[in-house]
């Protein structure tokens, strides 16, 4: 992949947390659009210095933020490629005669404890713990080895010296430290590291397992919704996450639009939920597609741990963990699609799984849409904006212009009508820097990084 960096200024008309500031746009241009380059997950680490992306070819690419340069004191550092490695390879399940895709479904960073960085990456069946470490020194002056590694004849050694470290070009190494395999019959859709930094959970369509990061040959099943008779299966698990502060609490969402909060202290098998979050259905909107569009594609706790956000096909909902009956806030992402549900069902777009994310102080939430649009909702000011991630609309050092979809009637200039939307250009994966106003937005093959100017 070639790496280019251009700048764009974002000047929204609405007052958001990212208000009226200049954004530096960085985006990575692939040399050719290939299937394997489709980005399948995006995740900042806990400091925000590193940004990891996974793609359909099983590769992980990590970007690192440059230190703030003296030339541009008002700009934060930009992101460069830091490390690239092949995390997963395609496998063949001989028992079922099926290929296991190498596509990276999720990446989650571990909190940093020493100089090295650790992340978990998973495909459909196997989770791997990767250690990413830097090497910028090389030992030289061994007594028994030549510089090229060949062993010297001990009889030729006449004097002894102490090897010393000499600086070398920075080398970033990624090595797999653990492989957590053979615990999932169905496809893994989520992984989540516990706040205790010792355990993590992995969730597939019907089960959730609890792992210890040190132990790879054993995992504990904590949720199992597989019915005895598979004929009766009507609901699957779609996402799961640990609470950011309480190490005993996790939530999982389902294809029926419910979220269950479980407490691991209550019992070993958390089939009985502690709380069930479900919004009663609106009878006026009832259709054959009601269940499909209520299926939750992503669930994320707020950084504070007080709220959680869920994404279903048309909306983003914010829930207060203390209230199970209904969400406290609901934001319409693309309500204009409600009348198109049958077409979207026909072309399978209705099954697209959009993700969502919080900003650092939980005041703004973001999610993707079609036509390379993504949406931000400011919870405090009750305002929202639609932006587009595309090369054409983002010239260097230009303003990111808010977009608008025309839902009916006369189309104004610069508006896009619903029928002109490109449903092949979807933004499923977005990420927000944990502290600053830097966002990463993945279109099918490109990664866009937007920043605001300090």
């Amino acid at each position: 992949m070639l790496h280019c960096r251009e700048s764009a200024r974002f000047l929204p008309e609405v007052t958001l947390g990212i208000q009226a500031k200049e954004f530096n746009l960085g985006f990575i241009r692939p040399e050719s659009v290939s299937h394997a380059d489709i980005i399948s997950t995006v995740e900042f680490n806990h400091s925000g210095e590193l940004l990891a992306t996974g793609d359909k070819g099983g590769r992980v690419v990590i970007f690192q933020q440059e230190l703030e340069s003296k030339n541009q004191p008002l700009c934060r550092g930009e992101y460069n490629v830091y490390s690239t490695f092949q995390s997963h390879e395609p496998e063949f399940d001989y028992l079922k005669s099926l290929e296991i895709e190498e596509k990276i479904n999720k990446i989650r960073w571990l909190p940093q404890k020493n100089a090295a960085q650790f992340l978990l990456s998973t495909n459909d069946k196997t989770i791997k713990l990767w250690k990413i470490s830097e090497r910028d020194k090389r030992p030289e002056g061994y007594n028994l080895k030549e510089e090229d590694g060949r062993y010297r004849d001990p009889t030729t050694v006449t004097t002894l010296r102490v090897p010393v470290f000499h600086p070398m070009d920075l080398m970033v190494e990624a090595s797999p430290r653990r492989v957590f395999a053979n615990a999932h019959t169905y496809h893994i859709n989520s992984i989540s590291v516990n706040s205790d930094c010792e355990t993590y959970l992995s969730a597939d369509d019907l089960r959730i397992n609890l792992w210890n990061l040190e132990i790879t040959d054993r995992s504990f099943n904590i949720v199992d919704i597989k019915p005895a008779n598979m004929e009766e299966l009507t609901e699957v698990i779609t996402a799961a996450e640990f609470h950011p502060n309480q190490c005993n609490t996790f939530v999982y969402s389902s294809s029926k639009g419910t979220i269950r909060l479980c407490d691991m202290r209550a019992s070993a098998l958390c089939d009985q939920h502690s709380k069930l979050f479900e919004e009663p259905e609106d009878p006026s909107n009832r259709s054959f597609f009601s269940e499909i569009i209520s299926s939750i594609s992503d669930v994320k706790f707020s950084h504070s741990g007080r709220y959680m956000m869920t994404r279903d096909y048309l909306t983003v909902k914010i829930w207060d963990l203390n209230m199970e009956s209904r969400p406290v806030e609901t934001y319409q992402v693309h309500e204009y699609l409600r009348s198109k549900l049958c077409s979207l069902y026909e072309n399978d777009c209705i099954f697209d799984k959009f993700e969502c994310c919080w900003n650092g102080n939980d005041s703004v939430v973001m999610t993707g849409s079609y036509n390379n649009f993504f949406r931000m909702f400011d919870r405090g000011y009750r305002q929202d904006v639609t932006l587009e991630a595309s090369r054409e609309s983002s010239k260097p050092r230009s303003v990111l212009k808010p977009r608008k979809v025309c839902t009916g009637g006369k189309r104004k200039k610069d508006e896009i009508s619903v029928d002109s939307l490109d449903f092949n250009k979807k933004i499923l994966h977005t990420a927000w820097h944990p502290q600053d106003n830097i966002i990463a937005v993945a279109t099918t093959n490109n990664l866009y990084i937007f920043q605001d100017r300090l």
């Binding site: 004929e231 299966l233 009507t234 069902y345």
Partner: protein, 289 residues
């Protein structure tokens, strides 16, 4: 049964055209009090039928994929159940059964006997007859297999059962295209297709592929027995269907339909059988009996 050559109940080509017009406006329509109440109702049920067909087709297609997405399959199947429930409640089922029951059936008809449709086993009169669940598994053990039917009749209290048999007969059997090599296997009245119905063929396969044949069902039709004498009665597991497991021993009873799928010929079933025989032979040698 429907007469051969009579007008099919389902016409996929026309429906697609109608679909494009209807769906841009909305999804489910409410019955209005207007003058053209009947027209609205008719178009709504056409729309609903079309949605049902589309869903079945999707399920069939994803059944053929290497590893279908379980979430998607579950959601589509739930949609099918929903449609079927509604059809059962507002009497569309009655219309369909009448249409089916009205036409005669030839001796080669093996799929569903009209007797089944008229039978009332444990169900109360007036209740809609529901066939076994399509879904993820074969028929459940507690379901009753009637004499002449291939499908099971569900006991009345099991609500979300699907119109499997009905769905099967909505398809014009003339739309079934069976390859020469296997047509001898199935006296089930497949005709050389008058219609393309590629989708029809596959959906039918999907529908029928989940039937289960129970060996030793009381009073089984001898012709049936002969037809399925070489078929393995192992049921079609959910995991098999939804996770795309295609290993030979798990093949459904309608192996001729399996052969419609390009990637799996009837060869795999017979080769598996040959392997098993060989295995037995080898075991005998080893054991020394």
């Amino acid at each position: 049964m429907r007469k051969r050559g009579s007008r099919p109940i389902y016409m996929p080509v026309r429906r697609r055209r109608e679909k494009a017009n209807m769906y841009s406006k909305g999804t489910k329509r409410k019955f209005s009090d207007g003058v053209d109440n009947k027209a609205v109702a008719a178009s709504y049920s056409l729309q609903r039928q079309s949605l049902l067909d589309m869903s079945l087709l999707k399920l069939q297609l994803c059944h053929m994929l290497a590893e279908p997405n379980l979430c998607r399959s579950v959601l589509i199947a739930n949609t099918v159940r929903q449609i079927q429930e509604e059809m059962a409640h507002d009497g569309s089922w009655q219309v369909v059964t009448e249409a089916l029951g009205g036409s005669g059936h030839g001796p080669s008809d093996r799929l569903v006997d009209t007797e089944v449709l008229c039978q009332s086993s444990e169900q109360q009169d007036g209740g809609p007859r529901l066939y076994s669940v399509m879904g993820y598994d074969g028929c459940r053990e507690e379901e009753v297999v009637t004499d002449k039917a291939l499908c099971s009749v569900v006991v009345g209290d099991r609500a979300p059962a699907l119109l499997l048999g009905t769905i099967g007969h909505c398809w014009d059997r003339g739309e079934l295209r069976v390859e020469d090599g296997v047509s001898k296997d199935s006296g089930t009245g497949e005709e050389e297709g008058t219609k393309s119905g590629e989708g029809a063929k596959m959906a039918t396969g999907q529908v029928f592929g989940t039937f289960e044949i129970k060996n030793g069902a009381p009073g089984s039709d001898p012709a049936l027995e002969e037809l399925f004498s070489d078929v393995d009665a192992s049921y079609y597991d959910l995991d098999t269907m939804l996770t795309g497991m295609q290993s030979a021993p798990k093949m459904g009873p309608y192996d001729f339909l399996d052969s419609l799928a390009s990637s799996h010929g009837s060869v795999s079933n017979s080769s598996c059988r040959a392997d098993l025989n060989e295995l037995d032979h080898i075991m005998e040698i080893i054991v020394g009996s």
